[in-house]
Amino acid sequence: MSRSLYFRLGFHNLDRAALFFLLPSLLYLVLFFLYPFFYGLVLSLTPESGKPIYHNFYLFLADDWQRSTIWKTIRLAIPITLLVVFISVPLAYTMRRGIKFERLITTFLILPVSLGTVLIAEGVLGFLGGNGWFNQFLIKIGLIKESFRFTYNYTGVVIGLFLKNFPYCFLMLLGYVSGINPEIEKSARILGARPMQIFWRIMLPLMAPGITIAFCLVFVMDFAVFPTAILLGQPAGETRTIAIAAYQMAFEHYDMPKASSIAMIMAMTQMIGLVTILALRRRLYRGTSLGITKG
């Protein structure tokens, strides 16, 4: 490393001890993120001999059936993310100063997080499946004649992902909103703002950074959907997401270079999504968010 770069990166401020204690996390980053990423990138750019370097990408994008997985994933990820965030925001907002039975409610919300994807899917199948309690109940009371199909299709994946990702989003937003100085709201009230005006003009802009982060995280989780899409969806049809395509290429066709190229395409699509969200947020609200608590 040249001396000027050494200074520009601020390494002259790091003493040996700091570097030493940084080592485990750097090692982790290199071993489990950077190395696999670049390994995959190189792999994806190593097609069969005699083909151009972008050949694996070309094959995926030229194939209608393969290419459609991008759209199928987006079609799941964006609506579910919107649904999760739009339900979480008002709920977290109303609970920001605490409500009755808050602990009980929070416990119920955390439960799905701790149970894991497969158990949630089992639960949804048992409750909403063709012979599930819900359908049986609707038939018993004569509302419908044939079972309504909630599972093994698009709806099934939406329900499963919602149950899995809603608690994350809600709890994160709840933490964020309760962190906003309550006197900001009080002063708006005294200046003449009605509750709805306070929400739209004061609290929502202050929540915007938190909502953006929550949106990004839920989007990433939704975009990588794999077990839910298989267990509750139609993995050979309308919910064949890009993760499933990558899995099949890797472990059914044992073609690692092509699988890697699919993973790269998935990463790029995700990045485009995240950049779009952050750009939108920057256009909507400017200025700082949470704290100007000096002194």
């Binding site: 100085n181 006197e183 900001i184 002063s187 708006a188 009230r189 200046l191 703002a193 100007i292 000096k294």
Partner: protein, 367 residues
């Protein structure tokens, strides 16, 4: 700036949180254009009282009137009150201009009026040209001034201030105190100020209400509160740290001069403001600055003449250097601890003579 409404306030409220009574039949009359301070230790209910007036906390019982009109039945956003909070509570995502114009825009004022009023209050707080800044770019003192401007812009009938200076450092606090006093003189706006700082209360207020455990202990001018505390709590809170309970031993023929004594500590006082009977106890107090302390004279010295009346001797226990003077803890011969503030140079273990100026002694009414 044009004068706001008169703003005569009558408050009579009780507030309970669950089983705990925070304000017990709290009754206060504030004259129009008056600056009144609610003074008390933390948890005494003063902030709750302010929040009740603002409408941020519902009353358990009672009524609030402003200029004869019922206030407590109106939602807070329609009360026409200005409020300033301890931590400024500015809207961090809005510029200074937008912060101040927020209340005016909600009143649907025309744009040019909004602009002229914002500029008016900005010059009032001497922050012209700061309209485009964000609160995060201002110092603590500037932020608090913006908060005051924001409260004043809609021309409220009443200004509530909840410990507005507590977050500022000592020097800035003193400057802001002056500015607040100036603002009140210029605008003549009825103001209710909450603080736990007796200096702030004494320097700013027309009147002070001392509060303890949800009850008003005494209401009066700063001079009355300082010189004639109504009870032990007020006296203690206003910085009288030395309390004595003495028995009346003898009364002289004028009926007002008496010899008081307890455990060998003796005072001869005239002009006792309360009826006295031999054998009864009286409670009195004296501020640390009103006790004179001198090194105990060696035997045979001339100064001893003075020893006769209202003096006693003691031993220095702790000395804290405060610059202009020392804060000295002294144990009297009867082991009672006395706090004195004096420029006299003393050290731990020194024998000293204390003189209690009878004119500075404050009698505390019974009950």
């Amino acid at each position: 700036m044009e004068r706001a409404a008169i703003g005569h306030i009558e408050v009579q409220i009780t507030k309970r949180f669950g089983k705990k009574t925070v304000l017990d039949n709290f009754t206060l009359n504030v004259k129009g254009r008056e600056f009144i301070t609610l003074l008390g230790p933390s948890g005494c209910g003063k902030t709750t009282a302010l929040n009740c007036i603002a409408g941020l906390v519902p009353l358990s019982e009672g009524k609030i009137f402003v200029d004869g009109e019922r206030l407590d039945t109106i939602p807070p956003e329609k009360r026409g009150i200005g409020m300033v909070f301890q931590n400024y509570a500015l809207f961090p995502h809005m510029t200074v201009f937008k912060n101040i114009s927020f209340g005016l825009e909600l009143q649907k004022k025309p744009l040019d009026e909004v602009k002229s009023r914002v500029n008016e209050v900005l010059s009032l707080i001497r922050l012209q040209g700061f309209g485009d800044r964000f609160p995060g770019q201002l110092s603590g003192g500037q932020q608090q001034r913006v908060a005051i401007a924001r409260a004043l812009a809609p021309r409220p009938k009443l200004l509530l201030l909840d410990e507005p200076l507590s977050n500022l450092d000592a020097k800035l606090r003193l400057d802001m105190r002056g500015e607040l006093k100036n603002l009140h003189r210029e605008l003549g706006l009825t103001s209710i100020y909450v603080t736990h700082d007796q200096c702030e209360a004494l320097s700013l207020s027309d009147r002070i209400a001392v509060i303890h455990e949800g009850m008003i202990q005494q209401v009066g001018t700063p001079k009355e509160i300082y010189e004639k505390p109504a009870n032990l709590f007020v006296a203690d809170f206003m910085g009288c740290e030395n309390f004595f309970t003495l028995k009346v031993r003898a009364i002289e023929s004028d009926g007002k001069t008496a010899l008081l004594e307890q455990d060998g500590f003796r005072l001869r006082l005239s002009n006792i403001p309360q009826p006295i009977t031999i054998g009864h106890e009286v409670t009195l107090t004296i501020r640390p600055d009103d006790i004179q302390v001198t090194h105990a004279p060696s035997l045979g010295s001339q100064v001893q003449v003075k020893e006769e009346q209202n003096t006693t001797s003691g031993v220095v226990h702790v000395v804290q250097y405060l610059g202009k003077e020392n804060d000295i803890e002294i144990f009297l011969e009867n082991n009672k601890k006395i706090r004195v503030r004096s420029p006299e140079k003393v050290e731990r273990g020194d024998k000293v003579t204390l003189y209690f100026n009878p004119e500075k002694i404050i009698f505390i009414p019974k009950g």
